[in-house]
Subunit: 559 residues, 2 copies
């Protein structure tokens, strides 16, 4: 053996020498498609998106009505200069290099609060891509107050260390009172239509009526999307994690690191929706003392505590950490964008996945000048940001395909989007949106999310069917009516014979028969039909609601 054995040992030792740490920047440079840079066209869109999303987040957090200008300049040979400038609060000097030239650095990851950015990757990824494709540094200007200087940086990323490499540092004159401006040269392709920068900005305007966008495209045409409202969306609050979302490992770590001395204090202070009463209840269900010291408890006791939590009824997480668009603004947006006959929108009440609250909103625009023979158009949004790529991998697509549109009057073949003159908008607002990749193009298939989307789609679907069915109902009703009326004279005749001829007024009988008919079937006015219609819906509701629940469960399988 040993000759062989020795060579294997040598091999093991040789392999050990090759083991190395991988910088997160190296990792994403090699896997840049994970960040949305898998082709030139997408690279252009992704870069604009990351810059604009950051601008909007910063403005809203500082309570400023956002005004963002985007310039894309064609430098020929598939190179473009992208300049994004905002009127945000600006960035303090010492933070500028890290925010733009270090991956996994930011203020949004470690909190539970609704925002567009969350990973601390996006804009630095664009800086890295620009550097990879043109070798040019990112140029940043930022200013936080009229009396402060504007700070200017030229930045590269040192990918092996994942840290900023400052090429130039200076202060400059800048007319703006406060704000940030970034300039990037990168390889890209400019195209209009689906999945283009133009489309991204247009859809952004729909779900963000409070922002003004001034966009100059590579053809030097200027498009302006003026704000439709002067009021900012409610600033979402930051929340503590909800007990239902915590896992054993996390819980145990929190128990060991907490500053609180008693289990009760720990539970009430480090989780949302846990008051003194609930805390006591949890401890009781966990067979632990409320005044036990969390840090002293064993892993086994942590497991008890977790069981206790799951055995206790706890209020759903607060919703002021999420600011949905709202059914009415959503419908306004739809009306602005799509010329249709019928609109319906809904905002679900908040739900929870892995302890993260989220709200699903859905809108539809039916008919008008939309093509009737193609699959419906699906517009996807996450925290007000349009999602333009990987629809096939997105739970929004799955939920739409998984809804029984036939019962709402659309044609639909197995496993496909419904066909009809319709646009569907789906929006998920959450303190933590579970994307299927760092490029944030599609939402992962969490069963709770799938189910909420199904239910929201069914709500608007039922409204749709009322519209689609009404005309048919009116026609049918008129037919029935005239049919019955035919027989009234004969019935009257028959009655006359029954009751005997004396003193029988045929006309009077016919009249009263007509009255009975009207009582039973109502008169032909829309209002009445609505009533009738609504009855049907309630039945339909019951039926579909049930089915929805059943199918909702299926949500966690992947294909």
């Amino acid at each position: 053996m040993s000759a062989d054995m020795d060579s294997i040992k040598t091999k093991a030792q040789e392999m050990a020498t090759k083991q190395r740490e991988i910088s997160v920047a190296e990792f994403f440079a090699k896997n840049r498609h994970l960040l949305g840079f898998d082709n030139k066209r997408k690279a252009l869109m992704t870069t604009v998106k990351e810059a604009v999303d950051n601008s909007l987040d910063a403005c809203e957090e500082a309570g400023i009505l956002p005004e963002v200008s985007i310039d894309i300049i064609d430098m020929k040979e598939d190179r473009y200069r992208i300049i994004v400038e905002d009127n945000g609060p600006g960035i303090v000097k010492q933070q500028i290099p890290k925010i733009f030239a270090k991956l996994l650095y930011g203020s949004k990851f470690h909190r539970l609060k609704m925002s567009r950015g969350q990973q601390g990757i996006g804009i630095s990824a664009s800086v890295m891509y620009a550097q990879m494709t043109t070798g040019r540094p990112a140029k940043i200007v930022s200013k936080i107050h009229p009396n402060e200087p504007a700070h200017y940086y030229e930045l590269h990323i040192d990918t092996e260390k994942n840290r900023p490499d400052i090429v130039k540092e200076d202060t400059v004159e800048w007319a703006k009172e406060h704000g940030t401006k970034i300039e990037l040269d990168l390889e890209g392709t400019y195209q209009v239509g689906n999945q283009s920068v133009d489309e991204y900005l247009k859809e952004t305007a729909i779900t963000n009526p409070h922002i003004t966008i001034i966009y100059t495209n590579p053809k030097a045409q200027q498009l302006i999307f003026p704000r439709a409202t002067e009021t900012l969306p409610d600033e979402p609050k930051e929340i503590a994690p909800h007990p239902y979302g915590v896992e054993l490992g996390m819980l145990f770590k929190m128990m060991q690191q907490t500053q609180y001395r008693t289990l009760q204090a720990f539970l009430t202070n480090e989780f949302s929706r846990v008051g003194a009463g609930t805390a006591k209840q949890i401890c009781e269900n966990a067979a632990l003392l409320p005044n036990a010291a969390p840090s002293k408890l064993s892993r086994v006791q942590a497991e008890q505590l977790l069981k206790g939590i799951n055995a206790t009824k706890i209020m759903a997480p607060p919703t002021d950490c999420i600011s949905p668009i709202g059914a009415d603004p959503l419908e306004k947006g739809l009306r602005k964008e799509i010329n249709a006959e019928f609109y319906a929108t809904t905002t679900r009440s908040p739900a929870v996945y892995r302890g993260n609250p989220f709200i699903i909103e859905v809108g539809i625009a039916y008919g008008g000048d939309q093509p009737g023979d193609t699959p419906v158009r699906l517009m996807r949004f996450a925290n007000r940001v349009p999602l333009l790529y990987q629809q096939g991998a997105c739970v929004m697509n799955k939920a739409t395909v998984g809804t029984a549109w036939r019962s709402y009057g659309l044609s639909q073949s197995q496993g496909a989007l419904p066909v009809g003159p319709m646009t569907i908008i789906i929006h998920i607002a959450s303190v933590w949106v579970p994307f299927t990749s760092e490029s944030k193009e599609a939402i992962a298939h969490y069963p709770e999310i799938y189910k909420e989307m199904r239910l929201a789609l069914q709500e608007v679907g039922r409204k749709l069917s009322s519209y689609v069915n009404r005309k048919r109902r009116v026609r049918d009703e008129l037919n029935k009516r005239s049919f019955i009326e035919k027989y009234i004279p004969h019935v009257a005749e028959a009655l006359k014979e029954l009751v005997g001829a004396k003193g029988f007024d045929g006309r009077a009988v016919e009249e009263s028969l007509k009255k009975i008919l009207e009582k039973k079937r109502g008169t032909v006015e829309p209002l009445e039909f609505d009533k009738e219609a609504n009855v049907d819906f309630d039945e339909e509701f019951a039926r579909i609601g049930k089915e929805g629940d059943e199918e909702g469960e299926g949500g966690d399988d992947d294909e």
Copy 2:
């Protein structure tokens, strides 16, 4: 203004205090669905997959025929203990903690060589998931030589620091001569069928005929997949990057870091397929001197050099860095797995995306006891590893849907998989597989990859159509034949009159007419039909080959 301005400044300063670095472990803990842990069932499969893939890589790199045993023990309440043990070379003591309890650490990321693992994430992600869901540490035993001790570790991951947290460290008795064993307790769900551990192992056996798997499932049933061959696949070689794949940023960095003094030496030594001649050619096309010092060149000159590279004809990258399964073994695997009437496989010659060589292999099994009224079954493999999730997001699915199967005798509706009694296997072998997420479930849509897959599918498709069409051909031919034969006597009669009656042998004429017929239309033997068939295919080839190319270009759009 300033009151307002001051508050904004304050806000900017306050926001700055919230900026923080994010550990890659924290990042993936919060985004665990990116790693394939979005539901309990998938978590079980992913963990087994990561462990087995590592074992196979290690064995093959050390030239050992792999024998891997997998035990899954049901611990009740959705908890499972997974034990994976291999006969690999083992891991040297000081590397054990980092390999199993540090994300982005490994030997495979920084080289261009075909292997199952490549990111340095997989197994440590499983360790982290186990810790999150059960709080239990990973238990590792590893041994590199009969005379060496077996090292035992219990490991947690310190997620805030992304580094190993060693719970226990020891040496133990282990009967094995060399190998590694990992034991993990985690939350999961065990189910058979699609996307199950069982399916993953079964498919692994198909594409890895050289391995033996001993699998004990949670029902304590033992399944053994014995190896079908005693020979290891050729050990793939490590290669230098190909010039066509390098981007400006990378090239400039390489030029500044190189140890070589002249451009020519730099090009010939740091890239594959660049000999002295090619190097000179590149320099000429770049208008740079071959003896210029790379480190002295400016970014502008680096751009010249890149243009020079792309203007020079360079041989495709070497292929000994990739070991495909091979058309024959692939067909054997298919025959073993699927009972069909007709099999066809193909191995394309290597191609390049972003400088990374890759080979596409495709196989089909048609007919037999496969259901004829459902979409074909698509089995996807990357570097011999089965891909069980996210088929919808995978370029393999896109290429199959995008192939015109009607022309090969299958029914197919727009934008859907073809319908018929068939299984399709697609395998991509590459030094760097571009997955759509860290969970390595689907391949990204690189146009070059899409195109190669399309061409491979068309190859087997044409073989398929020959089979599907043959029976029809035979029947048609027989009809034509008998039809013509009917007229022979009459033609003979006519000839008799033309040439005049004297000495005319009608039978002889009929005979020769028959001969002519046979000459023209061949006799009814398969061989002849193949010939005839092939003629059609060549035409078909031309037609479809062309169409394939055209459509191939479309590959870079995302939906």
